[in-house]
Symmetry: C2
Subunit: 196 residues, 2 copies
């Protein structure tokens, strides 16, 4: 399995945003939506071996985590608007302690960044995508890697502290700093080449 975690520091947790305004009123939810596309789409297929965790920390009801499970996903289209709608539906669900299913392969819960990282650290090695890390080419990526990244803001000091508790590997992808969704494409390609 390949796990990706991305933090949306200001991303809406209530679903009370307009589909026309995902980069404004929804707190740069557009960044996370593009990550959904990158995480799952092959040319004529969906990556079944991938799970994506969107950790939403903005709006009036933080934190919430929307989890996409490639193995079960249906009704996913590549465009931003339709994915926004899937996420909005998830955020409109009433939730308490338990994770709830919103649509096939899409789940919503009250998990915080710390909760997500703790849970996934038991499944695989935490890898922090960071410009000053070791080049992914030449780094041995073990099975079930958990890639952690941030939106247009860096992880906060508190978030970095949480991560550091799991002894993450820092890995970089090339000479330039890239958007999170672009990073995921490069990670997938590297893993595809190594595991094919």
């Amino acid at each position: 399995m390949r796990y990706f975690v991305i933090v949306g520091h200001k991303a809406s947790t209530t679903g009370n945003f307009k589909l026309d305004d995902i980069s404004g009123g929804a707190g740069r939810l557009d960044i996370l939506i593009r990550c959904v596309n990158s995480a799952f789409f092959l040319s004529h297929n969906v990556r079944r071996d991938t799970e994506l965790y969107l950790v939403l920390q903005g709006g009036d009801d933080p934190p919430k985590t929307v989890r996409f499970s490639g193995a079960e996903l249906r009704y996913l289209n590549p465009d931003e608007r339709s994915t926004s709608s899937l996420i909005r539906n998830a955020l409109l669900k009433k939730i308490d302690e338990e994770e709830k299913k919103s649509s096939p392969g899409i789940y919503v819960s009250r998990m915080s960044f710390g909760d997500v990282v703790k849970m996934l650290s038991e499944r695989g090695k935490i890898i922090y995508l960071k410009e000053d890390g070791e080049d992914i080419r030449g780094t041995e990526i073990r099975e079930d890697p958990v890639f952690v990244m941030s939106d247009n803001r860096d992880l906060t000091e508190d978030e970095e502290l949480i991560l550091s508790g799991y002894g993450p590997e820092k890995v970089s992808l090339g000479p330039y700093s890239l958007h999170a969704d672009h990073c995921m494409i490069i990670v997938h390609n590297e893993l595809d080449r190594n595991t094919h």
Copy 2:
């Protein structure tokens, strides 16, 4: 310079589409719009050394080509909706023989696929991104490469014939077939690593 050409076989040429319906009524224009994002965005910068040609062949007024010049681009945001709007504005321009500027760095013309490839073949080597090509890792990419790709349909026989007239190199990016916008990320990363 890095050149990318993508053919939108059914993509609107008139601009009479709704911004909410770019994957439906606009003839999968969404695919080309995601290529704009991939072509130009770095984390906190725009790739000034890149030019992108969207060759639109659908709708009521084909062909048209919308050209994005990274060196001059302004007002480009990463979300699909705002880029759709820029392209729609370009398509609403009245044009005759000459290429016309629509907004900073965005131009529209009557160029066909054949016209675009002919012009760019005089600037650099034509590279056809194709699953059965040589692996890009290990292929020497010379200066000013011109990468040609297609939308969700393959290039037609006629388009392949046009390309073959320029002795293109066929290059592949990994074991799986990927969306055009994802291909561009991998191409950029490879060139970034080789030229940095």
